[in-house]
């Protein structure tokens, strides 16, 4: 191979132009729902639809945030990349869902001072106080070790996958499309986290001890997720049983309560946005 081939359209190209817009070429993408028909079909309850989008969007954003905290801290580079992938998928879902909630029912968006440049998705993410959030405690739960992270991700993605599968036929075409996209992503998240749970459970004595402990600590998370979506119980219980069987792990007792880590999460996530309420980013 000639050493000069494949470098012809060099990265200098973007740097040497004289037009300022060229120096930011390819980076300007705006509204996540840009180009999508905002129309809500007749007969769809807008308040209920907005609440559903918000609930699914909050859940995705909170879990994405926790996964993103692993960045530069994962057990190896491959895992760092994989965790960021999952976090980015969920963040993408969150953006679409929060933006859709705001279009369907603008009343859900917190009011900001007149002239505020903050888009609706960001008003929802950065200017809502903890009581207005509708995600689970499981999603907001502070990270533990890597075993805790993959067990939590497995539980959350098992439930979310079934929830999204059922929403692919929703009468709102935007929500149905987001769900269809999400099903592909969640299938991978469940597979990736499930394989890690099995690997750790069957790995060393130490990894098995940690995985068993994570499963015990997260037993109330499983209970919470099923309480939020009781209709999917049978489907998801079957998947959990399969995983426990493959991992040779016992099902833990469901007792215990989850701490509410949402206020701490939001205090950090919202800090810069709230320090500059008129800021443009």
């Amino acid at each position: 191979m000639s050493p000069t081939s494949n470098v012809d359209h060099g990265p200098y190209d973007g740097l040497d132009a004289t037009d300022p817009a060229h120096w930011a070429f390819g980076t300007g993408f705006a509204d996540p729902l840009d180009g999508i028909d905002p129309h809500v079909p007749d007969g769809v309850d807008r308040v209920a639809l907005a609440a559903l989008c918000l609930r699914l969007g909050d859940e995705a954003l909170l879990l994405s945030h926790r996964l993103s905290e692993w960045c530069s801290r994962a057990p190896d580079l491959e895992t760092d990349v994989a965790l960021a992938n999952v976090a980015l998928d969920l963040l993408g879902q969150a953006r679409l869902l929060l933006a859709r909630a705001a279009v369907v029912e603008p009343g859900v968006v917190p009011e900001l001072p007149a002239g505020s440049p903050v888009p609706a998705e960001d008003a929802l993410a950065f200017f809502r106080d903890p009581p207005a959030w509708t995600g689970s405690r499981t999603a907001a739960l502070a990270n533990g070790d890597f075993g805790h992270t993959v067990v939590r991700l497995f539980l959350a993605s098992t439930v979310r996958l079934v929830v999204l599968q059922r929403l692919t036929g929703h009468p709102d075409p935007v929500l149905a499309a987001v769900a269809a996209k999400g099903v592909k992503e969640l299938t991978y998240h469940r597979d990736w986290s499930g394989r890690w749970v099995v690997t750790l459970a069957r790995g060393t004595r130490e990894s098995r001890r940690r995985t068993t402990a994570a499963l015990g600590q997260l037993a109330p998370a499983w209970a919470e997720l099923l309480d939020r979506d009781p209709a999917v119980r049978d489907d998801v219980e079957a998947v959990l049983d399969q995983l426990l069987d493959a991992s040779d792990l016992e099902r833990p007792d469901e007792g215990g309560e989850l701490p509410d880590d949402l206020p701490d999460l939001l205090a950090e996530m919202q800090s810069v946005a709230r320090a500059h309420p008129q800021g443009r980013w």
């Binding site: 300022p20 993103s68 190896d76 895992t79 953006r95 790995g203 990894s207 008129q278 443009r280």
Partner: protein, 285 residues
Amino acid sequence: MDDLERQFEETVARHDRIEPRDWMPEGYRRTLVRQIAQHAHSEVIGMQPEGAWITRAPSLRRKQVLLAKVQDEAGHGLYLYSAAETLGVTRDELEARLMSGAQKYSSIFNYPTPSYADVGTIGWLVDGAAICNQVPLCRTSYGPYGRAMVRICKEESFHQRQGFELLMTMMRGTDEQRAMVQESVDRFWKPALMMFGPPDAESPNTARSMAWGIKRHTNDELRARFVEMTAPQAEALGVTLPGNDVDWDELKRVVSGDGPCNAERLAHRQQAHDDGAWVREAASR
């Protein structure tokens, strides 16, 4: 000079690639391992200063852009460690040399990032400087390194434009945001100039690396290219660049381990490595 050595010299002279199975002088191999490993370590340590802002990014779009960028850096680290492995070292050995201080990483990542504007400035200036250094490496004489650099440079170019775009957006925001941008540029300009290494007169390895086709331009040539490229961009942004007079003793101090964040960066890396040991061990069963 024997046949193998002559063949090597001829390959380099006609600007062709040396491949892993080819004979190469031991010094060439050592220089490449040092340079590629240093580059890989820079990508991995470089995840930290910006990564620290992922949880506080002020819009969902910025959170997405930043997380994807830091993820790209992990990917660059992977390609580069793989390129180094073709020279007969393992990633574990290289990581151990990073943590013992035997191998270095770019001095720039030893500076703190106290402001969100630093995310934009790192993209604009630090990735911009990295591109000036790295584009010529796409034509470097060692095949696996050159090919890794082609892809890395394309991604770095995107990061550079994203950084510029963040600063441009902030400059159109509030007075406070404009002040944040200028303050950040004031802190990063000279450290960015130092990324090209010491002046040519004080760079002992340059001549040898150029003869071997590992390096294609001297430090001062690349630094001048960067300054020339950046000046009109600064004007378009509406920021003032501080002077180009660099304190080379500062570079020596930072490289030798005495920069503002050296200890913190290595401690973070060591902690992640230690915390993940049980996972890696379980996965290797």
